[in-house]
């Protein structure tokens, strides 16, 4: 088996810890994802999908258990180191696109690299242009998100997620508010990139039809993995 990009061991997450309304959302998750894998994370609303994705995305810390990203244990990292690791190894695609409205498509795609390197340079511009060309937006570089359709915005978001060429992209309902035709396109694009570049994808989705087209389906039910 190829090297593991992600490993979770007995990961638990509770909210409102120490209060009467303490609630455990994830009950001991064990999960591994191989490099270059294309996996869907499915489950009904409230099953803990988003929470799990946030833990993997280093946006939240688990209450218990271990998380390894690219073989590196993250539990003991401080905020700054987590931020750095997140910026370098993870790309995000969110349901609501979450582009920066003040910046053009090109600037949005350059943003992760700008954060990493501190200032603009020619190489990051060239890569961002290439990425936008790859997702089919070669002629929309200077447009701001407000001037783009939902599907186009999600393409920009995918290009942005790939800006630093991360080994893994986490997508939270990337097609959640797109029509089915556009959803198919976006899904197809991610699939293509996965095959071309070997980027691992973990996609949270409601859409059983799309989930079926993934290499692997991880089903979450009431905070535990079923399949």
């Amino acid at each position: 088996m190829a090297s593991r990009i992600l490993e979770l061991e007995g990961v638990r997450k509770s909210y409102n810890v120490g209060t009467p309304i303490e609630v455990e959302v994830l009950h001991g998750i064990d999960l591994a994802l191989a490099a270059g894998e294309f996996a869907a994370l499915i489950g009904p609303s409230g099953s803990g999908k988003s929470t799990l994705l946030h833990l993997i995305g280093l946006l939240e810390r688990p209450t218990a258990g271990r998380i390894l990203i690219a073989g590196k244990e993250v539990d003991h990292l401080d905020e700054a180191a987590m931020t750095e690791l997140r910026g370098r190894t993870l790309g995000f695609v969110f349901q609501f696109h979450h582009l920066l409205p003040e910046f053009t498509a090109l600037e949005n795609v350059m943003m992760p690299t700008l954060i990493e390197r501190g200032r603009y340079d020619g190489a990051m511009r060239a890569r961002a242009q290439w990425l936008l060309g790859r997702v089919g937006l070669g002629d929309a570089l200077a447009k701001k998100p407000a001037a783009l359709s939902g599907g186009m915005q999600q393409r920009v978001a995918i290009a942005r997620a790939l800006a630093v060429n991360p080994p893994m992209v986490l997508a939270d309902e990337p097609t959640g508010n797109l029509d089915s035709h556009t959803a198919d396109e976006i899904f197809g694009l991610m699939r293509e990139i996965n095959r071309e570049v070997g980027t691992a994808f973990l996609i949270v989705t409601h859409d059983a039809r799309l989930a079926g087209r993934c290499d692997r389906r991880i089903e979450l039910m009431d905070g535990s993995i079923w399949a």
């Binding site: 910026g87 349901q95 582009l99 954060i115």
Partner: protein, 405 residues
């Protein structure tokens, strides 16, 4: 350009209306701070200048004669009534030595020896009480610019000549070229030809002053070779009191600065300065609150963007910096534009605000240091005002920001 600057500038640029308003607010704040400071300093300077147009900056005279104790007060407690001594008209002891030494004291730029006393002026049946002012005209003109105040005649006093105030001239019915007889308090008299009349702008002085050569005054006042006062000019009028104290310490003579003589004026200046300071303080406070409130709103509006930026690798510290930079930029822009506006305001005021005599109330100049000080305060205020919003932004939980589209 660093990432933090790229973001700060873009956020400000895209926040158009908010940014424009807060920079406008800061601009007005900075402009008013510079303007009132310039206005106040200009007013005080012009008021001081007017006051000093008929006064020396510092007057040095012999110390008052004090009663000498006969009993040794160390040995016995004595209940006594001390009668103050009569102050005779007398010369400064060895005044030439002091006179030579004074110019070496820092800030002193001109000295003039004066013999002054009281007397009467007679012409026909009229007799008026006067002040005899015996001066060396070249030196005295550097203390009080009488030549600027001449109404008729010319600034010139040779032996047997005198210049008199315009009101005295009217009282005596005398004009340039006429002769008047002066009788001093010491009982000596002489005749003087009037060479000029002057208007010092103060009726009391115009009614009493008779300016004559030093030697004539010495003779009339029975002070052969002596002088009663030495008048000084200093280069910084507000340093006069310190210089006067230094003179007293070095010579043992009584030295009075114009500031001590015009204590009410100085008290008014002090109050004015306090008022201006208070107004400035509140302006700074208002500007700070304005910047802070706009940035707080901006942080809330940008909650989602902050979350995204955090998710794609921006640390809390860098997010904080983005907002601090915004505060600094608003402060800097306000400082630059405020300085420009202040220049216009002061320039306009130098034309619009006129004194009774038609001269400008304030000069159109602003000292460069005001710009620097106001700008420094504005930038600092911007930065400090941004601290709380920046912290708030840095603390923002990216998950909260992302979860709800």
């Amino acid at each position: 350009m660093p990432f933090e600057w790229v973001l700060a500038l873009r956020f400000l640029r895209e926040g158009r209306m908010q940014t424009a308003l807060i920079i406008a607010g800061t601009t007005v704040g900075v402009a008013v701070i510079i303007f009132i400071t310039a206005l106040m300093n200009s007013l005080q300077a012009s008021l001081a200048e007017r006051t000093l147009s008929t006064q020396s900056h510092i007057t040095v005279r012999a110390p008052d004669e004090a009663p000498l104790p006969v009993l040794d007060r160390q040995r016995a407690a004595v209940a006594s009534h001390v009668e103050p001594r009569v102050q005779r008209l007398r010369s400064i002891d060895q005044w030439q030595r002091v006179f030579r030494e004074l110019p070496s004291i820092p800030h002193v730029v001109a000295v003039s020896a004066i013999a002054t006393g009281s007397g009467f002026a007679y012409r026909g049946n009229a007799s008026k009480s006067i002040a005899l002012i015996g001066v060396e005209p070249e030196r005295y003109s550097r203390i009080v610019k009488i030549e600027d105040k001449i109404r008729t005649g010319a600034y010139r006093i040779g032996p047997g000549e005198a210049m008199i105030g315009i009101d005295l001239a009217r009282d005596l019915g005398a004009a340039v070229g006429d002769r008047i007889r002066i009788l001093s308090s010491e009982g000596r008299d002489d005749v003087f030809r009037i060479t000029a009349t002057f208007d010092l702008g103060v009726r009391d002085l115009n009614r009493r002053w008779v300016i004559m050569p030093l030697r004539s005054a010495q003779t009339l006042l029975d002070l052969p070779g002596g002088v009663t006062h030495i008048d000084l000019t200093v280069d910084d009028i507000f340093a006069a009191e310190a210089v006067a104290q230094q003179i007293t310490a070095r010579t043992g003579l009584t030295a009075e600065s114009w500031m001590a003589v015009n204590s009410q004026l100085m008290a008014a200046f002090k109050n004015q300065t306090m008022t201006t300071r208070t107004v400035r303080l509140f302006l700074v406070l208002i500007v700070a609150l304005g910047i802070a409130s706009v940035l707080v709103v901006s942080v809330v509006q940008k909650q989602r963007e902050i979350g995204i930026l955090r998710a794609i690798g921006a640390s809390p510290g860098r997010i904080k910096k983005v907002f601090l930079i915004q505060g600094g930029i608003v402060g800097s822009a306000g400082a630059a534009m405020g300085s420009g506006l202040a220049t216009l305001m002061v320039w306009g005021a130098s034309y619009a605000l006129r004194q009774d005599d038609g001269s400008a109330l304030i000069t159109g100049q602003i000292e460069f240091s005001y710009y620097l000080a106001a700008s420094a305060v504005a930038v600092l205020t911007g930065l400090l005002a941004a601290v709380a919003p920046a912290r708030q932004a840095a603390r923002m939980d990216p998950v909260e920001a992302i979860r709800y589209g």
